[in-house]
Symmetry: C2
Subunit: 306 residues, 2 copies
C-alpha cells in the first residue's frame, strides 16, 4: 500500500514565520495518522490541502507545548465543522485533563466521540492494530516523559493477477486462499501453481518517529531496518553536553541510531534556532550515516521511493 | 499621546489561511496592551514586527478557543526567550487553571512573574490604572461569560512651550503647576498668564472592545463618545434570530450601539465564515452608522487620524 509522510512542522521550541513546531501526517493508503500537533498545525493542514476531518488517529509524543499546543484548536475546529466520526487520541494521561478542562471552560460538548488512549511512559505498547498496520509506542528519554512511535505495515498478502481470475474461472471464495500463497484447483482437477496466479508484493513499509529524546541504545533493535527513521537532531555534536542536559540528541546521536538500526533512510529535524545553516547539520550527520535528509515543512516523503 | 490599534486577527471560530482568530494590539504611547490571543497570535506579532516581550498586559475577553488558544504558546515563548519582566493577565478565573495545568504537565517553572487578575463576570471593574490610562472591563452577553474592555486615556495636562522656560527662567519645580493651568510668577513679581506658557493638548483617546456579545443596551452610556469602537458583527441583519441564539451581534446591532453611543468611528469584525463578500456587511452597517470600517488582519488604526 502507499505510505507517505508529510512534514507539517519540524522546528524546536519557538515557532517562526517560516517554520512551524512539530507535526507530521502519515498517509498509509489514504488512512491519515497525525503525529504531534504544535500550534498552527490546523493551518498547516489547510496549506497542504489535507482535510482535518480525514484524520481519525492522533499521536502526541510528549507534553512540551511545541508538540501539542495546536491540538485543542484542531479538535475544536473538527467540532465546529460538524464532525460526527470518532477521533482517537493517543497521549500521556495528563493531556486528557488539559483537553477536558478547556472544553469545560467553553461549555463545549463535542459532537463526536473522542477516545483517549493513555500511553504508558515506562514501556512499549501496541496502540493500534488492524489487518494492515500495527502502531506501537517507544520509550524515549527526555526532560519529561516522552514516547516515540513505530508504524509497521503488516506483511502483505500476494497480489492476484486479474487476468488469471477470468482465465481459470476463479471464484471469489478462493481468492483469499490464493493471496495467502496456495495453489488453485480448477473444476477440471487441474492444479494451477500459485506462482502463475500472483505477483510478489513489495516489502512492507515502516516508519519510526523519535522526538524529543536523547540517544536511546535500547530502541535500536526495536526500530531495526525501518524504511524511514525521523530522529530529532536539536544540536550539532560540539553541544553534546547541552544535548544531554536538555534531553535532546545531536546529529551524531541521530546518525548512530540510524546506522546501528540499519534503517533505509534517516530524516533529521527539531533543529535549535541557533542554526542558520542547516546544511552544516546535514553534513555532520552524513559523515556517520550517508542516506540522511533534512526535514522541511511542507515536504512529502514517499516510502515507495526510499 | 499616540494611540494605535493593530488587528492581528478578526475571524470568528475557525481559522483560515488568510484570516486569524481574534487578537489585537493597542499601542498606547509605546506601551503594548494585547487584547485576546487566538491560535497563531505569536506568529501574527512576528509578521507585524511587534516584539512579544514588550507586551506587559494581556486581556482575554472570554474562554472560547478562538479568543485564547494562542495564549499558552505566547507565554511559553516569552519564557523560552528568557523573559524576566512581569506579565499581567486579565481574564475569567478558569483561565488560570488552564494555564497552570499545562505548565505543570511540561514541568515548566516560568522565569518571570505571571500575575493573574480575575475579571468579574457580573459587573464592571477597573483592571488597570496609572497616570495616563484607565482600563476597565465591560459586561457583555454571550453564550458563556464574556467581557469587553474600555481603554481611556486620562485628561491630559497642558503642554508647556519649551522656549518660555528659558525666556522666563522657569524652575523645574514650577512646571507641573503650570501644566495644571496655573499662571507663573517671575522673580521680579511679574505674572505670566498660563495661556502664554502652554499649548492646548489634544482631546484624550479612548477605545472600546466588544466581542463576543449580543446587543447590550446597558453598555451604550459606558462607551459614550469613544474615539473608536470595535464591535463584533458576526451576522447580517437577516440572521438576527441566529445571532441571538448564539450570543452574537448583527451589523445593525453593532451600528446601533455606535450610533447611540455617538462614537467617532466603528470597526466591525468577527465575521461568520459564511460571508465571502464582506462589503455587504459594511454597506448594511453604514446604512445605520456611516463612519464604519471593516477590521482586517495586519491593519493599524491611528487614533490621531480618527
Amino acid at each position: 500500500m502507499s505510505f507517505k509522510l508529510t512534514i507539517l512542522g519540524c522546528n524546536s521550541a519557538v515557532p517562526t514565520i517560516e517554520k512551524n513546531p512539530t507535526a507530521q501526517l502519515l498517509n498509509a493508503d489514504e488512512r491519515f495518522f497525525l503525529i504531534d500537533c504544535g500550534e498552527g498545525t490546523q493551518i498547516q493542514l489547510l496549506k497542504n490541502k489535507i482535510k482535518a476531518q480525514r484524520i481519525n488517529h492522533i499521536f502526541i509524543s510528549h507534553l512540551h507545548g511545541d508538540h501539542y499546543f495546536g491540538l485543542i484548536g484542531l479538535i475544536n475546529t473538527m467540532h465546529l465543522l460538524g464532525r460526527t466520526r470518532e477521533l482517537n487520541l493517543y497521549a500521556h494521561p495528563k493531556l486528557k485533563d488539559i483537553i477536558d478542562l478547556q472544553f469545560l471552560a467553553s461549555n463545549t460538548e463535542l459532537k463526536f466521540p473522542l477516545f483517549f488512549h493513555p500511553i504508558p511512559t515506562d514501556k512499549e505498547k501496541v496502540l493500534f492494530e488492524d489487518d494492515s498496520i500495527i502502531i506501537s509506542s517507544l520509550v524515549l528519554k527526555h526532560s519529561i516523559s516522552s514516547s516515540g512511535f513505530l508504524f509497521k505495515e503488516k506483511k502483505k498478502t500476494k497480489n492476484i493477477i486479474k487476468e488469471k481470475i477470468k482465465q481459470y474461472n476463479i471464484p471469489v471464495s478462493a481468492i483469499l486462499d490464493i493471496k495467502q500463497g496456495n495453489d488453485f484447483n480448477t473444476v477440471d482437477g487441474e492444479i494451477i501453481r500459485n506462482e502463475e496466479l500472483t505477483t510478489i508484493s513489495d516489502s512492507p513499509h515502516s516508519y519510526a518517529f523519535c522526538s524529543d529524546t536523547t540517544f536511546v541504545e535500547e530502541n535500536i533493535n526495536k526500530i531495526k531496518g525501518v524504511t524511514l527513521l525521523y530522529h530529532e537532531a536539536t544540536f550539532m555534536k560540539d553541544l553534546q553536553e547541552k544535548a544531554l542536559q536538555t534531553g535532546h540528541s545531536t546529529t551524531v546521536d541521530a546518525a548512530t541510531i540510524a546506522k546501528k538500526a540499519e534503517v533505509k533512510q534517516l530524516l533529521i529535524g527539531h533543529f535549535s534556532k541557533r542554526y542558520n545553516n542547516l546544511e552544516d547539520l546535514l553534513e555532520e550527520t552524513r559523515l556517520v550515516f550517508v542516506n540522511t535528509s533534512l526535514a522541511a515543512d511542507g515536504e512529502t516523503y514517499d516510502f515507495d521511493t526510499i
